[in-house]
């Protein structure tokens, strides 16, 4: 079999496989991410089916997948929404960081990872999956609930924090010491603030530059600009992902709506390939030994995430059942934990792969299940003091 036919066959089977897994996941009311990860573990070297021909393509597709994931993340929230979440829920964001990042950092050190690896693991346990959580809230009919603004605000703040955390991580992984990591963060804070302010004033110009009545033109211009900025950011020693995120942030809300619709299918395709590539790079034989640590980490960070949601919902005056719903809804970790772990693995700390994979598998499944379980609680809940 020649090279081209082998490549096409492998990719065709891969996409069909992902489609079947996605369908099964949605039937169960779960995210397809853990399913794709498990399937990818079974593939590749040491797995059931080797994907030798497709591997170089997958590696490149995975890079584009990360860029598109971060671009759509930046498109998801407008600058106004970021500012208003920050004003109202800044303390919740701090609690989120203080409760959820240290368990990952400590576990990383205990596992014998270098401090840069521990930092990456802190990011893995810190950031909830906004994709899984947002979808979950819609599926469970919780959009009108009183705790929902608090949950969404925490997600927005985490996404903003990603824009600061990723450059710091990239600098740290480059091995230039804590000093330059701090400088990297300072630079990132400056860049994010600059883009946010510029977007408020001049975002509509960028929107006009990219808009065209033809969807194809919009797609080409948007992807072209994003890859250009991402490439420049990478060349400057920042991260391609952050460059893409900033592009998404800079686009005005009026254009973002259309961009999301046009970009959606492309993002789904490449993001799926990114999860496959991550799973392929992880040796399935190492998952089992890493599982006890992943389970311990899952138990601890489930509790800390519930605490975060509890705190945020209480700030909005929500009662106990709502606080539990908010906390459990935030438990799910997913795409961004994988993005962070992928960066660390690519930078020469492959030991983070198995523990991060095990952890995300557990959290992406247990989060949605847990928050469904607390739903009936409110039927039994009676306030201690009856309202007058």
């Amino acid at each position: 079999m020649d090279h081209v036919s082998a490549l096409l066959l492998e990719l065709g089977l891969l996409f069909l496989g992902i489609s079947v897994l996605g369908l099964a996941a949605r039937r169960l009311g779960l995210s397809p991410i853990p399913f794709v990860l498990v399937a990818a573990l079974a593939l590749g070297e040491g797995g059931v089916v080797p994907l030798t021909t497709a591997e170089p393509f997958l590696a490149a597709a995975a890079e584009i997948g990360v860029v598109l994931l971060l671009l759509t993340l930046g498109l998801e929230f407008s600058a106004g929404e970021l500012f208003s979440s920050f004003r109202r829920h800044a303390p919740s964001g701090v609690v989120d960081l203080v409760l959820n990042a240290p368990p990952g950092f400590v576990a990383g050190l205990l596992l014998g990872l270098p401090w840069e690896g521990a930092l990456a693991l802190a990011g893995v346990t810190w950031i909830s999956s906004s994709g899984i959580v947002a979808r979950l809230l819609g599926d469970l009919g919780r959009l009108a609930n009183r705790e929902t603004p608090a949950v969404l605000s925490v997600l927005v703040l985490e996404d903003l924090a990603m824009a600061l955390f990723l450059p710091m991580l990239v600098v740290a992984l480059a091995g230039e010491g804590p000093g330059s990591a701090v400088a990297g963060v300072a630079l990132a804070v400056g860049a994010v603030l600059l883009v946010l302010l510029a977007a408020q004033r001049h975002g509509h110009r960028l929107g006009r530059l990219l808009s065209h009545e033809d969807d194809e033109q919009v797609l080409l211009r948007l992807v072209g600009l994003t890859l250009l900025v991402a490439g420049l950011a990478q060349a400057m020693g920042a991260s391609a992902a952050v460059g893409a995120f900033l592009v998404g942030l800079a686009l005005p809300a009026s254009f973002a709506e259309r961009a999301r619709a046009i970009l959606g299918p492309l993002r789904d395709l490449f993001a799926a390939l990114f999860f496959v590539a991550f799973g392929l790079a992880t040796d399935p034989g190492e998952i089992l030994p890493a599982l006890p640590v992943a389970v311990a980490l899952a138990v601890v960070t489930t509790a800390t995430k519930v605490g975060t949601g509890w705190f945020a919902a209480r700030r909005d005056g929500v009662a106990v059942p709502g606080r539990l719903r908010a906390g459990t809804a935030l438990v799910a970790r997913g795409e961004f934990s994988i993005v962070i772990a992928g960066m660390a693995a690519a930078a020469g700390i492959p030991e983070i792969g198995p523990v991060a994979t095990g952890y995300v598998l557990l959290m992406a499944v247990s989060g949605p299940v847990l928050t469904r379980l607390v739903e009936p609680l409110s039927a039994r809940w009676r306030p201690a003091v009856a309202p007058a």
Binding site: E76, F77, E81, L82, S84, S85, S130, A134, L137, G138, G141, R142, L143, A144, N145, R146, E147, T148, P149, L152, S153, L155, V156, E257, V318, A319, P321, G322, R325, S378, A379, W381, R382
Partner: protein
């Protein structure tokens, strides 16, 4: 009436309406134009129950159902409050001289003293129309004025004057 507005980042806006009868209505208007309408749990007032999910088209239909009669009702109320002031719904019949012409061409205010406050066209309502708005056969004009003025306007629109 209390209408509270809360921003839902990445989703849309939630409105909460406490009605005079004490019921609480929650409406989430999503960015794509869809909407969710919910009432809240009696025991757990933070929790939405009985959620209606509307796509953009359905939400528009509901808005029209609630919007069109409300508008005319408001003018009916107004005419009750101000003695001598009446409101009327005057159709543009096929064959009317104003079919295809602008609202300004009717010179309603100059000739009859009536104000045209809305144009009802099928399920749509154009509130506070401008003189440049085009009229079509089948439109219904919502007008307020004196009863003589309204009669005059109805005759003029049907082409009798």
């Amino acid at each position: 009436m209390e209408l509270e507005e809360t921003l839902l980042p990445g989703v849309g806006v939630r409105y909460e309406l406490r009605t005079r009868s004490g019921q609480l209505l929650g409406i989430v208007v999503q960015r794509d134009g869809g909407a969710e309408i919910a009432v809240y749990d009696r025991h757990d007032p933070d929790r939405a129950r009985g959620v209606f999910r509307l796509n953009a088209e359905e939400a528009d239909a509901v808005a029209d159902v609630l919007g069109a009669p409300r508008l005319t009702k408001r003018f009916a109320d107004l005419s009750k409050e101000v003695p001598g002031l009446q409101s009327a719904r005057i159709p543009i019949q096929p064959g009317s001289p104003f079919d295809g012409r602008s609202l300004g061409d009717t010179r309603a205010r100059t000739l009859t003293g009536c104000s045209i406050v809305a144009i009802v066209r099928d399920a749509d309502v154009v509130p506070s129309p401008t003189p440049a708005d085009q009229l079509r056969a089948g439109d219904v004009l919502v007008a307020i004025g004196s009863s003589e003025g309204l009669e005059q306007l109805a005759r003029r629109l049907s082409g009798q004057v």
